[in-house]
């Protein structure tokens, strides 16, 4: 099932923060990982990941460094900063509450 882009849009940053909180990764790796874990449900336009990464870095939530990968190729690796981890915790909590509320509204139950 493919999701509407406006639904996906708000989830990109927390997903990126979550994946990078596991370990440092580069852009292409993140895209492939998302496709793999969502079994293709999230069809990100690959290029749109980079503005998100750069914005998170500008906000101090990520840091980056060029390093040589195992293949010998130079890649820009991103990692979550301390501020980024705090932000991830906050956004995860916010997302859970939001999701619960919307589900309750759509499904007719009380929140």
């Amino acid at each position: 099932m493919e999701f509407r882009s406006d639904l996906v849009k708000g989830s990109v940053a927390p997903i990126v923060l979550k994946l990078l909180s596991e370990r440092e990764r580069y852009g292409y790796e993140i895209v492939k990982l998302v496709n793999e874990r969502t079994q293709g449900a999230f069809q990100w336009k690959e290029g749109t990941l980079y503005p998100c990464l750069h914005q998170l870095e500008a906000d101090g939530l990520l840091s980056s460094a060029w390093r040589e990968a195992e293949s010998g190729k130079q890649r820009k690796y991103y990692r979550v900063t301390r501020k980024g981890r705090t932000e991830l915790a906050s956004r995860t909590e916010e997302w859970a509450a939001f999701s619960k509320t919307v589900t309750a509204l759509l499904m007719g139950a009380t929140a």
Partner: protein, 509 residues
């Protein structure tokens, strides 16, 4: 150009004024596309189809470019501001340094004919060595035009960022207040109105001005110089107001306020100095002459360019960088600290090394020029040391540059700059060193010897000599700073870069 190149060009076209950042983004996006192509190739897809698929999967390059620009806007502004600040701070410093050095050199050893022959000698050396110089050192009228445009842009960018001008302005205000408070009783007692004007413009030159006054005589030349300075300041203030009001990041009301403040202060200076000049004119004892004006200009420039400046600036930069990194909780790696500091003072150090080598080279000829001097005996350098502390007053002006460069992480640019200098320095040194040596040779050329104690040089000769010197100084200075600005990751291109906006329709998806 391949589809991938088209995509990268379109996605990064908005970064055309920051070649360094653009290069980094292109590198990152290219690595992604290459990974994507390699994955498709591994599945058995041919090269052209793999590239097509990678470009399509990447998305609309113009939309991505716009978002990338939005995400990096703050970074772009900081980098632009930092580089502009370096240009704004160092360009006048370089002009003053070169002006002082060559003026001193020619005034001490060379007469008007000798100056012409010296310039011819330098021109010959330049044309002989031109093909060995890197392209950026091949100066000409286009470089002067470029420098003028770059300077205008630099000032505009610098003044759109409070990080740059606010500390410098505060430092200047504190200096003015301190000087005026401490000197006011003397000024009133001596009715030295021209000194008041000069003190406001260059408070740190107060002591030097006072000593020179005793030698030069009446206040007249000081007044003339301060009036010129103020008139220049007034013109600058008017231009500044226009720049400020058209700068994208400055609030209109605030810009208008600064404009008014600039113009009012400059006008007050002009009025005050004019009044002082009139006063001195009627009380003047007749000892004024054109040569005194020349000495006056030299004495005004002199304290700004002591050879200790680079070293004081280096120490200050290192100290402040360490403090800043500590405050921000960053690691204190020696390489990081040194490179951050070097980006601020690198060009000054570089210029100073060249100038010092020139002085040392020339001092070998001193016995021929001045029989009283021993070879390599450098009274000039010795005379500077007692005044080194004056530069502690100048060093804080570098603070905003250090802050901004620290925030921008410009180490990469610094490393590039250092690498380039290492590879090309010898050419510059050889060029300037030979030039300085040859400057001494025309001492044997025909023409009257220049007597620095004489007070009877005709105005026309003086003006001609000054014009020749200034032209020579400008050429050297432009060469130095053009090199720095274009090679150290400048954000100001030589000309508007042509960028392709043509993206295949199916690639825009």
């Amino acid at each position: 150009m391949t589809r991938m190149d088209d995509l990268l060009e379109a996605a990064t076209s908005r970064f055309r004024y920051d070649a360094g950042l653009r290069e980094e983004i292109v590198r990152e996006l290219r690595a992604h596309l290459e990974d994507s192509i390699a994955a498709a190739r591994a599945e058995g897809v041919d090269e052209a189809q793999a590239e097509e698929a990678a470009v399509r999967a990447f998305g609309d390059p113009e939309e991505i470019g716009e978002k990338l620009w939005q995400a990096n806007r703050r970074r772009l502004r900081r980098r632009a501001a930092a580089m502009a600040a370096v240009g704004v701070v160092l360009m006048p410093a370089g002009i003053v340094a070169a002006a002082w050095f060559i003026t001193w050199l020619l005034a001490e050893s060379i007469g008007p004919w000798h100056a012409i022959i010296s310039i011819a000698a330098i021109a010959i050396i330049y044309f002989l060595t031109r093909r060995f110089l890197p392209k950026t050192a091949r100066f000409g009228i286009s470089y002067l035009r470029w420098l003028s445009t770059a300077f205008t842009k630099s000032v505009r960018i610098a003044f759109s960022n409070a990080w740059i001008w606010a500390p410098a302005l505060a430092f200047f205000a504190v200096n003015v207040a301190e000087e005026l408070i401490s000197k006011w009783p003397d000024l009133i007692r001596s009715r030295s109105y021209t000194h008041i004007g000069l003190g406001i413009v260059f408070p740190s030159l107060w002591e030097s001005a006072h000593k020179q006054l005793a030698e030069v005589g009446p206040h007249m030349p000081w007044g003339a110089a301060s009036l010129l300075l103020y008139l220049g300041y007034l013109l600058f203030a008017k231009r500044m107001g226009t720049w400020l009001q058209s700068a994208p990041d400055v609030a209109r009301r605030r810009a208008r306020g600064w404009h008014i403040a600039f113009v009012v202060s400059a006008s007050a200076g002009v009025l005050s100095v004019t009044w002082g000049l009139l006063w001195d004119w009627f009380t003047w004892n007749g000892r004024y002459n054109a040569f005194n004006s020349g000495r006056l200009l030299i004495s005004i420039l002199q304290p700004l360019v002591y050879v200790e400046l680079p070293f004081v600036a280096l120490i200050s930069a290192l100290f402040l960088t360490i403090v800043l990194r500590r405050l921000r909780g960053q690691a204190l790696s020696p390489g990081g600290i040194l490179s951050s500091a070097l980006i601020v003072i690198g060009p000054i150090l570089w210029l100073s090394i060249i100038l010092l080598l020139g002085v040392i080279g020339l001092s070998g000829l001193w016995p021929f020029l001045h029989p009283a001097h021993k070879p390599f005996d450098m009274p000039l350098l010795q005379s500077f040391f007692p005044q080194a502390l004056d530069f502690l007053r100048v060093a804080p002006a570098f603070l905003p540059v250090i802050i901004v460069s620290e925030q921008c992480g410009l180490r990469r640019a610094c490393v590039r700059f250092g690498d380039f200098v290492w590879r090309h320095l010898w050419r510059y040194v050889a060029f300037v060193f030979l030039g300085a040596l040859l400057l001494g040779l025309p001492q044997w050329a025909p023409g009257p010897a220049f007597d620095s104690n004489a007070a009877t040089w005709p105005v026309l000769v003086l003006v001609t000599r000054v014009a020749i010197r200034v032209a020579l100084q400008l050429v050297l200075t432009v060469m130095c700073f053009e090199f720095y600005l274009t090679r150290a990751g400048t954000v100001i291109p030589m000309a508007a870069e042509e960028t392709s906006s043509q993206v295949a329709p199916d690639g825009t998806r």
